[in-house]
């Protein structure tokens, strides 16, 4: 299943929105945090995990999904949320802790829920897998259309939840796809130091489901593999596991000095940045020119700038609103 | 006319005895045929005892009493 021209452009567009969004967040995050880096200060307080470089995972998978499909993501969720169609204004306001945010500022950047497009994420490693399997079970029980996709990092495969949910999904043949974004690092610990197998797609065999690996952070290859896995889930043939070799071009979190990286790794990764690579592909295969590039870039920037303005202009919640929504 | 509540021979496979764990209706209560009136236990397994007829329950064997297959534990009249 190869992407057509419109799908390639869709993927590129969402990669651009995501990247520009993260670059904007990165700048704003540092406001009020210099010279003293105090996480509690500035318009965006708290932890911040940026997804620069991991856009191919999000767009290659979400190109096959509609709003009714369920996605659970990780503590590094922005690229997936954007590709899934989460309301960008309200997501940005949430990241700023504003009243207009998706949860009114109760969750923040690691707890983004948009029921309109069935997106959620969590700050606990591998925690989205159970809910994704449960949503898939819900569709199976109700005979309703829609599949679930759980995104996780390569560090998550060593969590108990990964193994439990892989087994449960397989034994119940649930319409769910597990997508490992393999950026090679669990904060500062390398994949090779933490994981007993070289590639996690091989773990799928232990649960009797197909496993695939995509190399070179290639959005088109992700599209093809994810398309097959999602089609398989839609057809009621059960779950799949996909591991995507991707690049974390930022630190684990903002303020990460990244001293654990081997010399030269960061430069090498930047030289393989998937966004210029995708542009080259469009130029080569889709007659992409300067005018198309200008138009799509302008549109992406406008969209992100608008969301950031919305967030900045929004009011903070009243402190007492903290007491609401514990129960509904 | 009175109908005995008898522990059926085929309620469990082994020959061991059972214990009445709970009467789900009181002595003298009105019961309908088919109502579960007692639970008996063989090891950890519980079995239901149902009223064989409608009428007034008379309890013969009490809770915690040991009973065997074929025993009359009460009647309905």
């Amino acid at each position: 299943m190869k992407p057509n021209k419109a799908q390639k452009i869709w993927m590129y567009e969402h990669m651009l929105v995501s990247r520009y969004f993260e670059e904007s967040i990165e700048k704003i995050y540092m406001e009020g945090k210099s010279p003293a880096f105090n996480m509690a200060n500035g318009p965006i307080p708290g932890e911040m995990h940026l997804s620069n470089g991991q856009e191919p995972c999000a767009v290659g998978v979400c190109a096959h999904l509609t709003a009714e499909d369920v996605v659970t993501s990780t503590h590094r969720p922005h690229h997936v949320a954007i590709a899934k169609g989460v309301d960008l204004d309200r997501m940005t306001a949430e990241i700023f802790g504003k009243k207009t945010g998706l949860s009114g500022g109760r969750g923040g950047h690691m707890h983004i829920f948009d029921a309109a497009v069935n997106f959620s994420c969590s700050g606990i490693i591998a925690e989205g897998m159970g809910p994704a399997a449960g949503a898939a079970l819900s569709r199976q029980l109700q005979g309703k259309t829609g599949v679930a996709v759980a995104f996780l990092g390569d560090g998550a495969v060593n969590q108990g939840a990964f193994h439990e949910v892989m087994n449960l999904a397989a034994v119940w043949k649930l319409p769910v796809v597990f997508v490992v974004e393999d950026n090679g690092w669990g904060i500062s610990v390398s994949k090779s130091d933490s994981t007993a197998v070289e590639h996690n797609d091989t773990r799928a065999a232990a649960y009797g489901m197909p496993g695939y690996r995509v190399i070179n952070n290639d959005p088109v290859a992700v599209f093809e593999v994810a398309g097959n896995a999602i089609a398989r889930a839609r057809a009621g043939e059960g779950p799949s596991l996909i591991e995507i070799e991707t690049y974390r071009l930022a630190g684990h979190f903002m303020g990460d000095a990244e001293g654990y990286r081997p010399d030269g790794e960061k430069d090498a990764l930047h030289s393989k940045d998937p966004i210029p690579a995708m542009k080259r592909l469009l130029v080569a295969e889709c007659g992409w020119g300067d005018s198309e590039e200008l138009e799509i870039t302008t549109k992406a920037h406008f969209r992100v700038d608008q969301a950031i303005q919305f967030a900045r202009d929004s009011a903070y919640p009243e402190p007492e609103e903290a007491l609401d929504k514990v129960f509904v | 006319m009175s109908t005995d509540i008898v522990i059926a021979q085929d309620l469990w496979e082994e020959d061991e005895d059972a214990v009445i764990t709970t009467w789900l209706a009181s002595d003298g209560a009105s019961v309908d045929a088919g109502d579960t009136v007692a639970e008996i236990m063989v090891q950890k397994i519980q079995h239901d005892i149902v009223a064989p007829a409608s009428g007034t329950l008379k309890i013969v064997k009490e809770e915690d009493d040991t009973v065997s297959k074929g025993d009359v534990i009460g009647n309905v009249s």
């Binding site: 369920v70 829920f113 925690e127 939840a161 439990e164 449960l168 929504k325 | 789900l24 209706a25 009105s30």
Partner: protein, 339 residues
């Protein structure tokens, strides 16, 4: 016709729970059951008996021994519009799945601004007294009630069990339904006869968060939940012989806690004893005494608690029985406080 009106229909808590779930499953297709051995076996504690035969393997699902997976899945199914009833066989097993419970089920409503509620029921067995030692005998009332975002109910009898279960299934929030093994009506766990009572056949609810005065009195208030209620009732009988009138309050819910009913009763009696099979420190008993203290209710004497000592639950019969709350300890507490 008077025969029909008077007809007694006693159930064990196990049967009452199964009946509640089955009645909701008949009227609401979103309700389904998941857990270990809940299928053909009918639950290790009998509370899903008959469900598999009536509703089949799709809606009454035996799971792998994988609490993190299936409780996490319940959260996802609830968020997607289903009403899962899941069983954590022993509450002591919460250690292998607490993340799904308190980081997902309890927080998703809040983190979604109320847009993604989690209408699920987590039923779990509590309590000891039958020499199962410290990994299968705890109550952990305080552990669950402490964490915001989950309602917590714990019935002392079959009538409340059915009504609370139906209320829990219909609730839009996650509800932890704790059932005490000794009250379950399973002969092999010992059976508290007082837990077996009349249960109407039709579906009804018992409001979550409402305590009940199960015995009126004027000299001392005994507050308890599950097994503690039965100890309190037995103590009240003994105290009555001594000319002391004890009021027994069955909390029925830990979250929300019916503080008003506690305060009303204690204001009347001026004396308070809290009974809890959960650990003594940092738990329900302290919370109730603090509630009374904060409100400045005038007491005739210092309040007392009869709770589990702060020790892992021992196996050996004399040690375990010594540690458990009982009626005699409540009577002794009363005598101590009024000395």
């Amino acid at each position: 016709m008077s025969d029909v009106a008077q007809k007694e229909r006693k159930l064990t808590i196990a049967r009452a729970m199964a009946e509640a779930v089955s009645q909701e499953m008949r009227t609401d297709e979103r309700v389904f059951v998941m857990g270990e051995d809940v299928g053909p076996l009918g639950g290790v504690f009998g509370n899903t008996r008959g469900l598999f035969d009536e509703f089949g393997a799709s809606r009454v699902r035996d799971t792998p021994i994988s609490e993190t997976a299936f409780i996490g899945a319940a959260v996802g199914a609830a968020a997607d519009g289903m009403r899962p009833v899941v069983e954590l066989m022993f509450v002591d097993f919460f250690g292998v799945c607490m993340d799904a419970i308190y980081n997902l089920a309890a927080k998703n409503s809040y983190f979604s601004g109320g847009h993604v509620p989690v209408p699920m029921v987590l039923m779990t067995s509590t309590g000891g007294g039958y020499s199962d030692a410290g990994q299968h005998s705890q109550c952990l009332h305080g552990t669950f009630a402490h964490l915001p975002g989950m309602k917590v109910v714990a019935p002392s009898n079959a009538y409340d069990a059915k009504g609370l279960m139906i209320a829990a299934i219909r609730d839009q929030n996650p509800v932890v339904f704790m059932f005490h093994k000794a009250l379950q009506g399973m002969g092999w766990l010992g059976t508290e006869k007082g837990a077996i009572n009349h249960v109407p056949e039709e579906a009804y609810t018992v409001e979550i968060g409402k305590a009940k005065v199960v015995r009126e009195g004027k000299d001392v208030t005994v507050v308890g939940i599950t097994s503690g209620v039965h100890h309190g009732l037995k103590a009240a009988d003994i105290l009555a012989e001594k000319g002391v009138s004890a009021e027994v309050l069955d909390l029925r819910s830990l979250v929300p806690l019916d503080r008003e009913s506690i305060l009303r009763s204690v204001a009347k009696t001026g004396r308070l004893i809290v009974v809890d099979e959960d650990y003594h420190s940092y738990g329900m008993s302290g919370e109730i005494i603090a509630t009374v203290a904060e409100q400045g209710v005038k007491l005739h004497c210092a309040p007392q608690r009869v709770a589990y000592p702060d020790i892992p639950i021992p196996f050996s019969r004399p040690m375990e029985q010594w540690a458990l709350p009982n009626a005699e300890k409540i009577v002794n507490s009363y005598e101590l406080m009024t000395r």
